[in-house]
Point group: C2
Chain length 565, copies 2
């Protein structure tokens, strides 16, 4: 791997990472190279750079995702490259891909077309080992828990209450539900448990939300793995392995510096799930990035109802950073799909009708766009709508979307084609973002932490999702009570729901209204620092598809990896 | 991590890895830095350096290990440093530590005293990610197998015959025996299986034995994961995921360049188990090292009956490299323990009698030393006995060991105290090694590959272990027949037995004779390229001890890791 330009699909000339670092006015002690084209920044860098001026902080989100793909990552990369082209020092901060989709169904997660992160193969595979460190720390704790049980150490954990699962960074459905400790040699507690993806682990969420090493260690110590027989929380601090877990994560907390195919610097760091966790890249990276650049472009997972809501209410609240503008990505075909007039199936050709000009379908589906504009508006931020154009899109449709977006209060609505043209395809978007971010805004969180858990959930469900009411399963009601009694009531709430609809039901497209939002269960990520409400089926250990992407991947004689896209 | 000199216990001045590489006449394209003090060498380097003269190739082995520790790694590091002090360009090639002992019972695996590999904390934890890559490749295959079963793909695997297990790089006894695929969502084959340590995986053995990328890919393809209903082997090539596994291992096949605390270069690469696998560091590293240095010092796992036998008959046969001399490490107290007159228990103080001068005990225990000298002699190599001295060792005892060793045909027998004095403590050893390696030798393998499986096992058991006969469980007999019929009869045999005795019984100390060597089962590592005979209980997924080392490990405010030793 790592040959210069190996996987570069845009401009083939990569800069050595020393050059990228130098351009950011970093000195040699601020980072360590990992190969010629990757580096890890050192601890304490945000503090060292504290006297530098602070960048404009730009979020990138989208309408509810469709199976077509809206190109959010490509748009974020293209925007950062366009801002660079305009002469602004810009850093993009993105999540790290997981191995699971690389070998499963989705393929790589480092952009596409002329908007890629490089070196792509490295970033998509082991990168600098952060994901593996999360896996190791999570599994170390699992082993310590079983050892604690076996040896009846104090405090005694009620095995029936253990919520901590092991993880792997691979799709492996057979591991979702397992029985461990069979056989008497070596003797271990016989337990029904399971594996989740590493990206779904609380350790990953902690790594993304920790502000520094001391905070990381404290958060790890606060993790609750289960309850005593007296129904008191058992924390990692009590089990005595906080230090060992922190030791495994010391390097993983350091952001990874790479570049795009146009040599724009990116910090690619941490990759928490967007449903049971908050789905945003790391706070550490953003805090450094805002001291190194004029503009920082960061992407949240899924649509504004999921990733952006959590970006504002969980990530920004933790970091103290306030965004200056939000970019909302959509496509003409995705909006037409939101009309509910078409059906698409993954792996099958798109219906011909979807590709024909249809302004009525655009108008019908644009209710989804409007809903997402309304969401961002509640946070007091200006929104720039980025209409990600495909080569054969109807110009009339694009113009119609622009007009609707402007009518609905977008600061600007701009067509981009960064996939085909790189940063050059996003110049208008970049100019609109500069303008929007230049004005003062009234950024505010959706809810205060002092609100009760039920009120927080109700606020999110009604104001963000458009629900008429919230209903709770008895289990969820009990949990709300229990967590408030235990003192966890002041945490923000991370709602784990489908990304495909504003509601809990993936089939409800457009802008569903009048629905009752059902909360099935409530869980605690005490270390990450949020409660998460389960609303619908969330799969944390999926299986491989019938024809896994793994079967298409290979190496050539020089070790160059093929078939990753 | 990675601050210069952070964990250096000897000389505090580390060289940057660029300087180390330069001293080996490597150019900038021959390696990539991973941090300031580690580097990965590039593919194809051995071929590029083909015109350089070839180093003397020195193996380091030991008598049968005792719970006291004989200091084999420290002696190997000290020898390499002493050879450097004598003005010879020297590279040590060692195995990579695994996380499992670091958090379990043993602690770190990067030397000790004034003979350490640096940066220690990095090497002991994630290092450059090789172990994690082995874990990922092994588990990817496990998931592909279950997916293949679930979807009834061709060739159909008989689930009862599947031998492929998942792995983790952590002691976790609960995972040794598990049932996977519980519950119907997501549906997966319900199977009884288990996890092993990553170091025990066939992928690790393959990585250590592969000579280059093409060979790696071929070996991965030859792995047999189970049988069809027609009792034909199902290989990874048939499952279609060879390329994806190879892609995960591309970087892991590249040796890791680090340095000792005296700045002697070391290649620390791969870490296969010493019982069910061959217990030696990688062929790729050794093939490069012999082109970069005057002397290459490499260590095998356990005693000459285990690690060295496999070094000669498996590793050297695969690599084509021939050793020039072997160093045999022993200590006075270990030889006294081999007399059978004392009992020691891990974690308890040593019996006072063991620490008193006792020449009779030395003479009684020295039969073990003699047996190991005889073993190496059969391979036609000169042996230098390294007597690793402790500060309060009796000089008479050390002299007695020297005399016995010389009487038994050692080329030299030298006292070393590298632990306390670094390379300076091993100058005499280095001089003896230079002398021994300077003479022509008649190196030969113990057995030809054409021998039948049973004859190979008999040859190893009688000539190396001193057994009078071999007996087979019916299962082992059936397997011998089956493997010979399937065409695997020409592979070398790796015997998985206890390391604590020359025999199969850990309680038989000294030089047991007249025993019958029992073979319980025979298994196939078709990718690694050996059969392994199971003789006694071999645990591939141990548990954590009552007080795991993990509970002593922590980080300080700068992220420096404490408690690793």
């Amino acid at each position: 791997m790592n040959q210069p330009g190996q996987s570069v699909t845009g401009d083939p000339g990569l800069q050595e990472i020393d050059t990228i670092a130098e351009q950011l006015r970093l000195n040699r002690n601020d980072y360590e190279p990992y190969g010629r084209y990757k580096a890890k920044l050192v601890h304490g860098l945000a503090e060292r750079l504290n006297d530098r001026s602070q960048a404009k902080y730009i979020g990138v989100t989208a309408i509810n995702p469709t199976p077509l793909g809206e190109g959010k990552t490509v748009t974020a990369i293209g925007l950062a490259m366009a801002l660079s082209q305009l002469g602004h020092t810009t850093i993009g901060t993105l999540r790290e891909p997981s191995l699971a989709p690389v070998f499963g169904i989705k393929g790589g997660g480092a952009g596409g077309g002329k908007c890629t992160l490089e070196p792509q193969a490295d970033i998509n595979l082991h990168f600098t080992g952060d994901m593996h460190a999360v896996t190791a720390a999570t599994n170390l704790l699992a082993s310590i828990i079983d050892n604690h049980l076996k040896r009846k150490k104090s405090p005694q954990i009620n095995p029936a209450t253990i919520t901590w699962k092991r993880v792997l960074d691979l799709c492996d459905r057979g591991l979702a539900h397992v029985i461990t400790g069979l056989d008497q040699v070596p003797q271990a507690p016989l337990r029904e448990t399971g594996f989740e993806l590493s990206a779904a682990s609380e350790v990953m969420a902690i790594l993304a939300l920790a502000t520094d090493l001391a905070d990381l260690r404290q958060r790890l110590g606060r993790i609750v793995v289960g309850m005593t027989y007296e129904k008191q929380p058992v924390t990692v601090e009590m089990l005595g392995c906080v230090g060992a877990m922190a030791a495994l994560l010391v390097d993983a907390l350091r952001p990874n510096l790479v570049q795009s195919c146009e040599q724009t610097p990116f910090l690619v760091h941490t990759g928490p799930f967007g449903n049971i966790a908050h789905g945003n890249s790391s706070i550490v990276a953003d805090k450094i990035a805002v001291r190194l650049a004029d503009y920082v472009v960061t992407e949240s997972g899924f649509g504004a109802d999921c990733g952006a809501e959590k970006f504002f209410d969980i990530k920004c609240r933790s970091s103290g950073l306030k965004p200056d503008a939000e970019v909302l990505v959509c496509t003409a075909r995705a909006l037409k799909l939101q009309s509910g007039l078409f059906e698409v199936h993954p792996g099958k050709p798109l219906p011909a009708a979807l590709l024909e000009e249809n302004l009525d379908a655009i108008r019908a589906g644009a209710v989804n766009l409007k809903a997402h504009l309304d969401i961002i508006c509640q946070y007091g931020l200006p929104t720039v709508v980025a209409i990600n154009a495909f080569p054969d899109d109807s110009q009339k449709e694009l113009a119609e979307i622009q007009q609707i977006a402007l009518e609905q209060g977008a600061s600007a609505a701009v067509v981009t084609d960064a996939f085909a043209r790189g940063g050059q395809g996003s110049i208008a978007l970049a100019e609109a973002v500069v303008k929007a971010a230049g004005k003062p805004n009234q950024f505010q969180y959706l809810y205060p932490l002092e609100m009760s858990i039920a009120d927080k959930i109700k606020t999110i469900a009604t104001k963000i999702y458009g629900a008429a009411a919230v209903e709770y399963d008895p289990k969820a009601q009990r949990q709300i009570q229990e967590y408030e009694q235990l003192g966890y009531g002041r945490l923000p709430v991370c709602v784990a729901k489908t990304q495909y609809s504003l509601s809990h039901d993936p089939k409800l497209l457009g802008r569903p209204q009048g629905f009752t939002f059902p909360v099935r269960d409530l869980k605690l990520s005490a270390g990450a620092g949020f409660l998460y409400a389960l609303c619908g089926e969330i799969r944390t250990m999926p299986g491989l598809p019938s024809e896994p992407a793994a079967l298409r991947i290979d190496i050539d004689e020089q070790g160059k990896i093929t078939g990753l896209q």
